[in-house]
């Protein structure tokens, strides 16, 4: 039986079979590896939250350490009202658990008034810290971070930032210690207790500036993005703290 290999019929059949086989193979792999990949992402998130309270751990050890430091996981709404509070082990199916809130997804798809705002209450060396996750927009794509406040609800204890596609050497520097280490000690409230946030100042914030950090040279749009993200996100948490 001779098949005309250059005929349209054969070409179509070959393509259809090939696409089906490849599709099944990829779908199967994706489904098989998904649990492992999600576990990795979860560990990384825990690692980042711990990094915000200046606890450096390897990714694999993050879940154990996370349980030790993070005492309570709270969700608040835009007006600063508490919606839910959970502690103990994380149930990945529990949508009331602040850890399962995907802030990046909500940032893309929901208005800021409707979003959930997770807050992680941590305890380190007998003191309480509040870690607030946040998402914003850089030059090329999303940027995000975790900022921890001390129990005066005012002084920054630590901050960690990351990005998806900022320019290496410029905007991407927000994830380097050089940028992040500026944050500890800064205040989000002025002396009268009014909310002022922390600005990312082009040209450099003076050493006495309690409410500003140096922007990144050549990374103006990313720096502005960080400033906007801080201002918008911390305001909601400020409303919450004000009600405590």
């Amino acid at each position: 039986m001779a098949i005309n290999k250059d005929g349209n019929g054969y070409t179509f059949m070959f393509s259809i079979v090939m696409v089906a086989v490849v599709g099944v193979a990829l779908a199967f792999t994706s489904q098989t590896l998904k649990p492992l990949q999600q576990e990795n992402e979860k560990q990384e998130k825990m690692q980042n939250i711990l990094a915000a309270i200046n606890v450096a751990v390897e990714r694999e050890k993050a879940p154990d350490e996370f349980g030790k430091y993070v005492k309570q996981r709270i969700i608040i709404d835009y007006e600063g009202n508490q919606i839910s509070a959970t502690d103990g082990d994380i149930d990945p199916k529990n949508l009331e658990d602040a850890f399962n809130i995907d802030v990046k997804k909500e940032y893309k798809s929901i208005d800021k008034e409707e979003r959930n705002y997770p807050l992680f209450v941590c305890e380190k060396e007998g003191k309480q810290y509040y870690v607030a996750p946040m998402v914003g927009t850089g030059l090329w794509g999303p940027i995000w971070g975790f900022v921890s406040l001390q129990d005066d609800y005012n002084t920054v204890f630590g901050a960690t930032f990351d990005h998806k596609t900022e320019t290496p050497g410029l905007g991407a520097e927000i994830k380097e210690p050089m940028f992040e280490d500026q944050f500890p000690g800064k205040m989000i409230l002025d002396e009268g207790g009014n909310y002022v946030s922390i600005g990312v100042v082009k040209g450099g914030a003076g050493p006495d500036n309690k409410h500003g950090v140096d922007a990144i040279t050549g990374g103006t749009i990313t720096s502005d993005g960080v400033g906007e993200m801080l201002n918008r996100s911390l305001e909601t948490y400020y409303k919450y703290f004000n009600k405590q």
């Binding site: 290999k5 792999t29 492992l36 990384e44 050497g169």
Partner: protein, 228 residues
Amino acid sequence: MSTEATTEVKQKAPKEPLFSKKNKRLITDPLTDSNPITIQVLGICSALAITVKVENAFIMSLSVLAVMIGGNLIISALRNMIPGRVRIIVQLVVVAALVILVDQVLKAYVYDVSKQLSVFVGLIITNCIIMGRLEAFALGNKLWPSFLDAIGNAMGYAWILLVVAFFREFFGSGAIWGIQIIPDSWMVANGGWYMHNNMMILPPMALVIVGIIIWIQRSRNKELIEEH
């Protein structure tokens, strides 16, 4: 399909041993005289981007090796079935599928490295070495030679990457495979005399190092020098 093809090899060429001179050359040639990076100047883009650290270069090389072997074997096995008019698309689908597989596996098992390699794993699809070998070799050769050809070319790519990464990591960060070699006390910041060469971390230095390798290679083997 694969068993059929191997028996075919045995019937038609019963005298040719698995590692005949011709077959050995399939592996050794791409390592030296027809190296994909230094001689054919393919796959340069990734060679510049992921050679800041030896570990990244190693994982990238492994990924390329896996995709090359898979692609060459599949295309070689299907070579008599692939319709000529859509052969490039078929090759592309095969390579893309394999690359996605590799990417998924990296994300599952070496998450941190996969984050650093970021887009470059996906860009293996556009790596000219792979498509080039599929089109030029696997489409017209049997399984065993195609397998050897894949190993040869992937290794030719790998050793250049590793050499470049070695120099860049050593002079750029004072480390090899993330292990600090140059002690901190030597640093100017700590009162010493040594400073990392930050230029090494940037892509242009990869090009310079590749250039030096090409220079050494061509000065040792005059036949490689093109006449103009």
